[in-house]
Symmetry: C2
Subunit: 639 residues, 2 copies
């Protein structure tokens, strides 16, 4: 095959590609992250590029306008390369934040890095709830020296000393720790630190180091979302959270939802590409956190990962094919504890990776972790957990029962697949007010800097405010009002929050009708899932005493706005509790408490699963929810 | 460094070597096995080669005669290369049996292969003793298909079915088995075979295969000796021993005893070389056994290895340095169960390797296995186990106590380091009678073929008969009798059993005074160890009701001869029980019975160890035993 050169802008990155390959595949091999929500099917229209020079062949698709082709704009996923090319990746298609960051240089000094420090939002869920017994502990031992009267082996000598302080069975340590043990003990003059990790009711000596390193014992917890990956660095000696970072999941280049990813995994190298993408993200977050907090990777011996079932399959390189085929069976919900290195995760080479157990193909360990963090499983009263992510998961129950469902909501509330969307991080518009008289806008921006984009809570406020001020109708169409902020853009009608001159990036911050459609579908899917599940149990929304709202919104969500747009049901506001990233909070509880990990296993076994795709009424609920707030206004009496 | 070419004969094998390196190191890198009992110190005089052309530099040593140098004979270990060389490896220095085999071609069709089929000798020790519960079992499962009402994960489905038939906790299976499980199950139409291995009181699913392979379930047990490695292939479904093979340990190129090996391990790459040597031997035996019995390596899921502590350290690449330094502490006596692949052993890649637990630096798992096989630990009466190997190990005890000791005996009784020595295999002289009138010799040769050499039991008979007929005096010198069989050879006086024309190899089968000296030291070390240990406990030989004699003698040892030469004490002959390779028998018991493995762990913990090197009286006992049968004839009243 003929090799051709493709140069991508911004960034001026050149790669080689075979003739006839798609521009998207060339971008992926060049390490350029392009949004491709549909997984390269030519359907979502996200992966737009402008071909500045060279010959391409494209296919026709509805996701693409004829006048765009005249401007040289194509969809990267269905456009093939037939000469050397120069290609501009349009802003909306860029997943990688670096170009934005470059644009900001000089304007705002290091506004944000590729992965973000996140202020964990919501109620503090873990304080004093579980017995403090971190998965990894370090103990310093001054061993007695052997002599002819006490000549037990080196390894048994260590075990003997550990048994004096730890009352748990010791399982065999690995050969790697044994091979050079003789020299290590003698060089260290019999003073060593043993790192012990709890699993399956026993202790494993995962590491033996010379000298006293017991003061340095760190762990990691991760929430591995379809769109966003969040990680936390925790000092296991004192429970302190040293830092939290979030990053977009690089797998987004292969599709925005789990279905697209599973389809991609079936291609040759597809599983390997997806696996590499997620482990690169995790390693990147670990690298940033450890650099910033000056933690040696060798002092990280434990990582707990909560994620939906597909994400965990991909993390561990397990073929996810059968998750999307009826009857929707994952390969495993309870995963073995493995060496983190087996999944390519760079912590101490002997360190262990725990996957939080899941429930079913579409209710994963992230939900188990959320239930653990919110405590639904031990309440007398009925509670509901709504986790708003790319998959929206719902759990209903109390100490007697737990039932779950899952809805494909899309990544809009995570700031992905919406034109000015971003994560809840520095520069994100998180609160919006619109003055009904003059339609002036006032915003709260995270970090009090010039706005970069809009995060989930910002979108919720914005739509609510636009509805209240008549800028938006209940069907999701922008009004014909004479307002300078309303205009026709490349993708149809749009509303401008900040013109380019007032934004941090030098580009307009807008919301388009297409964005609003995306957000409407997301909220409808989540609302319909919650109401269907409640109905399935023969209950009514009014029976529910607490509703936990979880998701990566940062530290803020306006419940009134969320009800107003029909994302949340219209019940007594005091029943809502915003808990932020409950999956990450639950994973942290497990990292800090082996008892919490055991509890999570019980929870995963206890939760039953309701498959909405075969549930009578779900589709009707969804269709009815495709309005703001709902077609049936009796359900939203406040409005 | 200048690269020079060295060509070795027989075999015409050429290798490159750096100028100044020893001929021994060149031979090792060419894969030529040369005896080097002293580990390359120039002391033992075993590694003789004849330099046919080229320039060498050698050192002076007592182990080497001046007139040999005139013939161009040098010690390979202390002679360095200074030009291209042609080198003949003398017969006595060859460890590899292939040259001999080549010599035999045409004379006897395939007399023996590199590794030998061995008829296991001695009492059958394992019949019905331990509950039949092999370490690896296979179960065929016809799984119910998942549907929307029964959508548990693939892995949990398998576990659920296993739990119906196995009442043991299941430990997590490895990720490798999980990764492609979804496809495997569906391709196999939910009919699979699970291979389960017992360890630490739980079952591990080590393998999941499509279809019904439960009929093919094989295992291996090995005795890994300093000089000889013996392996057995066992059908785990019916306890049948399919075959047994033995091979010389290729590590002999690095020294004949464990001390020389440990010293070699401290050199750069030394540990790796020793590790490779033993795993090549094991793999070779496995290959021969599986080829011969048409067993697929994938159906081998379990291997049990018994060996002395140094051999097990080297097998697992554990630094053995501290075994030989006071206070003689091994890195580990209880080794983790590992994937056989971690030690480079080629069975099923998921198969497990169990090391039989040892007692101390010089009493290893081979002794534990021997005690298990002989049943000392459960007897009311006092018994003694004497295991005659390169290290002679002694265990004394009953159900109340067990005490052990170890003596460095050397490899003479295994047919190594003696000029016509060989293992107890086809072609070995195993019984000898000398007519006192005419000094005519009659022999029994294993396989009833022309003799190749002499094995341990043959040497015991031979010395005993030579003593009785006055051919040998009590000090170990050959008599001056006028006998055609007595002559002066290259290494001093020697006695010819078969001239070249009557032997299978076309070379003389002889015993030299040097051989006799080696054998005398071996028997003295073993006898002294046994008597010292009995004394240490305040007992006398007469108190012992059973003496188990173990060792790789094949299926025969003449107790009278062994007493006559002073190897065994002179007590009532009915108390002696010849048990052959008890280490291999014990390892086989463990392979076939998890309960036996647990029992072995108890035994290893129970056995105490008496360090003879610091035991008062041991040296005197040894010196006194350096006569045939002993300096103190009162101890041998029969003679």
């Amino acid at each position: 095959m003929k090799k051709l050169r493709v140069t991508f802008y911004p960034g001026n990155i050149t790669t080689e590609a075979e003739e006839g390959k798609t521009i998207l595949s060339a971008a992926i091999s060049a390490g350029i992250q392009i949004h491709s929500s549909c997984g390269g099917e030519g359907l979502c229209g996200r992966c737009k590029v402008m071909v500045k020079s060279g010959k391409v062949i494209t296919q026709s698709t509805g996701a693409f306008e004829f006048n765009e082709k005249k401007q040289g704009i194509y969809l990267a996923c269905i456009t093939t390369i037939h000469s050397d090319l120069e290609v501009e990746v349009l802003a909306q298609a860029r997943l990688d934040e670096r170009p934005q960051e470059q644009a900001l240089e000089g304007k705002l000094k290091k506004l944000y890095s590729e992965s973000e420090e996140v202020t964990p939002g919501g109620a503090d869920l873990t304080e004093n709830v579980y017995l403090y017994s971190p998965l990894a502990t370090k103990i310093y031992l001054e061993l007695t020296r052997p002599d002819l009267k006490d000549a037990i082996s080196d390894l048994e000598r260590i075990y003997r000393h550990i048994r004096k302080v730890k009352d748990l069975p010791l399982v065999q340590t690995s050969l790697t720790n044994i091979r050079q043990l003789g020299e290590l003990l003698r060089d260290a003059d019999w003073k060593i630190t043993a790192t012990l990790v709890q699993r399956n009711g026993a202790l494993e000596v995962v590491l033996i180091e010379p000298g006293d390193t017991s003061g340095k014992n760190f762990g990691l917890c991760f929430d591995i979302g379809t769109t966003t990956i969040s990680g936390q660095l925790v000092d296991l000696n004192n429970k302190n959270i040293l830092g939290t970072k979030a990053i977009y999941n690089k797998q987004a280049s292969f599709g925005s939802d789990v279905i697209a990813r599973i389809i991609h995994a079936q291609e040759s190298d597809g599983l390997e590409q997806l696996h590499l993408a997620v482990n690169q993200c995790i390693n990147h977050v670990i690298e940033e956190l450890t650099k910033e907090h000056k933690v040696d990777l060798n002092n990280l011996n434990c990582i707990v990962c909560a994620g939906n079932t597909t994400m965990i399959h991909l993390l561990l390189s397990i073929d996810p094919t059968y998750i999307r085929r009826e009857p929707y069976v994952p390969t495993a919900n309870f995963l073995p504890v493995i060496r983190a290195a087996e999944a390519g995760i760079k912590i101490n080479p002997r360190g262990l990776l725990f996957s939080v157990p899941g429930v079913s193909s579409y209710v994963g360990g992230d939900v188990t972790a959320g239930v653990l963090a919110c405590g639904l499983y031990k309440e007398d009263e009925l509670s509901l957990l709504i986790d708003i992510g790319t998959n929206g998961e719902i759990v209903l129950g109390n100490k007697e029962f737990l039932i779950s469902a899952s809805a494909s909501a899309g990544p809009a509330f995570e700031g992905s697949s919406v034109s000015s969307g971003m994560r809840a991080s520095r520069g994100a518009i998180q609160k919006v007010k619109i003055n009904p008289k003059n339609l002036e806008i006032s915003c709260s921006v995270i970090g009090d800097v010039e706005p970069v984009g809009i995060c989930g809570s910002g979108y919720i406020d914005l739509i609510s405010q636009m509805l209240k001020t008549g800028l938006l109708d209940k069907g999701g169409k922008l009004s014909g009002k004479d307002c300078a902020r309303l205009r026709s853009g490349r993708e149809g009608r749009e509303f401008v929050l900040f013109p380019a001159k007032d934004s941090a990036t030098g580009t307009d911050v807008v919301i388009t009708e297409a964005d609003i459609e995306n957000l409407k579908r997301s909220k409808a899917a989540i609302y319909a899932a919650a109401t269907t599940l409640v109905k399935h149990m023969g209950l009514e929304l009014g029976d529910i005493k607490k509703i936990f709202i979880a998701g990566g919104f940062g530290n803020y969500i306006d419940i009134d706005s969320a009800v107003n747009i029909g994302l949340l049901p219209d019940i007594d506001r005091s029943r809502f509790i915003f808990v932020g990233n409950s999956s990450l909070a639950g994973a942290r509880s497990m990292l800090l408490s082996y008892q919490a990990f055991i509890k999570a296993e019980e929870i995963a076994k206890k939760i039953t699963y309701c498959e909405l795709s075969v549930e009578p009424g779900y589709m009707d609920e969804y269709m009815a929810a495709l309005f703001f707030p709902h077609t049936d206004l009796k359900k939203f009496p406040t409005f």
